[in-house]
Amino acid sequence: MKEMTAMNTERAPVSSSLAREAEVAKSNKTKSASGKESRNVWLPIGFGFLFLILWQLKIFHKLFHLELYQLPLPSAIAEAIHSNGDLLWNYSLYTGSEMIGGCLIGSAIGLLAAIIASFLPKAGKGAITLLAALNAVPIVALAPVMNNWFGDGVASKIAIVSIMTMATMAVSAYKGLRSVEPAYLELMQAYAAGRFTVFAKLRFRLALPAIFTALKINMATGIIGAIVGEFFISSRGLGFLLSDQIKLGNMPIAWSCIVIAAVLGIALYYLIQLIERFAIPWHAAQRKQAS
């Protein structure tokens, strides 16, 4: 209240009261954010361990009437991973490169399509809708065709993953590029900014969160595409090993493929999230503030 009266009678120094206001706002934000962050990390880790312990104690076997050869124990899976380390490592790299390669190519094509479409307001929307139809193509139908086109090597799986991921990126990025508040467009228009300047300085920056979200979804889609692609025709990779070992009844190795695929998917998801945090820190900060 003292501040108010001072302000009314004379021109009070603006910066001191502003400074305090901002400091208070800042410290409140950082405190609550860091507290939430640590809880967010430890809770899932705790649940993960609990899950593993219950599994090791055969609780799930009792619940679902499963035998050990149907669902191997975590310890058996760990041992299988350990004794087949070299093979699994090589196959992980193989499948991982299919997945990442396909994701990057598919996402790049999708992003390019979204950017071109964003410059053509009327035709663009139709084109993106058409591209979105790709999402409806079932991978089971796609895989044999791609194997037929590109052979049984890496190329056919990259093609499968590319097709599976490009629509998600195109739709998401297009939406991001077009969702600009009118006042911002008026501002750019007022400064006589051309369409390319509006794209580079405004639209693309605003679309970045949507682009990263699509990338994260695509990493998860990519691992499905790569593994299912290998089920059909392949002589290497986690998907190949998985289907091969199940046929042989070698469940611990089959399960190690599943575990590694899951870890690969999660690791890449968090890698993208990490890149996102550096690429668009303003967005992460905003989200923290909102939550």
């Binding site: 108010m4 302000m7 009314n8 009678t9 004379e10 021109r11 603006v14 910066s15 502003l18 400074a19 206001e21 901002a22 706002a25 800042k26 508040e181 006042a183 911002y184 008026e186 501002l187 750019m188 228009q189 007022a190 400064y191 006589a192 900014a193 300047t197 300085k201 405004l202 920056r205 668009i280 303003w282 967005h283 900060a285 905003q286 503030q289």
Partner: protein, 266 residues
């Protein structure tokens, strides 16, 4: 004018009408509006919602084009004025870019114009000092209060040193105390820079406090009801606000405001 200022016409609004919507469903936002704005004058457009005051501002800014009538700014049409970046604009929301610091936000118009960083860094530093954000130049918008964000928007609008400043209810989303501070600072800035300011507001005291002239508009369709000359006084905020003259003028404007509404319902 009582200020003894040289009356040089900067903006001429001549029989301007604006109709939105398609045939059969037209809405007349502005109906034959005519008046002039002088150089270095502070003019407020005051009126209820639907009176077309924001529409008129957008016509001046060439963000909209009138259905009929003519606007001349200096010797040019609004489009030329916009392309030559001869006005700055401030909206109700600060419209800051979240990924840019205070300094980078202020530099946006200069960047869009294609100036070099070395050329405009000094300009933006001076503007940051002018709006009292020296300590915050590397902060991001989300780290600032609403009033500080609007200060950044004002500095950005001044960055190309345009002769005209267009403001669309810039303070209406702010709390009363912040609003007072910013009103005072805006008057200070006008004194320092001699800008012609067109200020849209729905607050009578704000219009009276800030303006050389208040254009009172009525709604449905948007028209100019009357134009009142204000007598600006020197003194502190409180002195002005408590003066008899301020109350007199506020009452006068309020009376016109009521009249314009009665006309509507009659």
């Amino acid at each position: 004018m009582s200020l003894g200022r040289e009356k040089e016409k900067e903006i001429r609004i001549d029989d301007v009408s604006m109709v939105f919507g398609r045939k059969g469903r037209e809405v007349t936002a502005l109906s034959s509006v005519s008046f002039d704005i002088y150089r270095s004058e502070f003019v407020s457009l005051l009126g209820p919602s639907g009176c077309g005051k924001s529409t008129l501002l957008r016509l001046l800014a060439d963000l909209l084009q009138p259905t009929s009538g003519r606007i001349t700014i200096g010797e040019e049409v609004p489009r030329e004025v916009r392309l030559k970046r001869k006005y700055g604009i401030v909206f109700q929301s600060p419209t800051l870019f979240e990924w840019r610091t205070v300094k980078d936000n202020i530099e946006l118009p200069m960047e869009v114009l294609g100036l070099k960083k070395s050329e405009y860094s000094a300009i933006s530093n001076r503007l940051i000092d002018m709006v009292g954000l020296t300590k915050f130049k590397d902060h991001y918008p989300w780290q600032l209060s609403g009033g500080m964000q609007q200060r950044v928007a004002i500095a950005r609008a001044l960055s190309l040193d345009p002769p005209i400043l267009l403001m669309d209810e810039p303070f209406s989303a702010l709390d009363e105390f912040t609003k007072e501070k910013l009103q005072l600072d805006l008057l200070d800035i006008q004194k320092q820079t001699n800008k012609t300011i067109v200020f849209v507001t729905h607050s009578i005291p704000e219009a009276v406090f800030l303006s050389d002239r208040v254009v009172i508009m009525s709604a449905h369709p948007g028209r100019v009801h009357s134009i009142l000359e204000m007598e600006r006084e020197e003194g502190s905020y409180e002195q002005i606000r408590n003066s008899g003259r301020f109350h007199e003028m506020t009452a006068k404007v309020r009376e016109c405001f009521q009249l314009s509404k009665q006309q509507l319902h009659a």
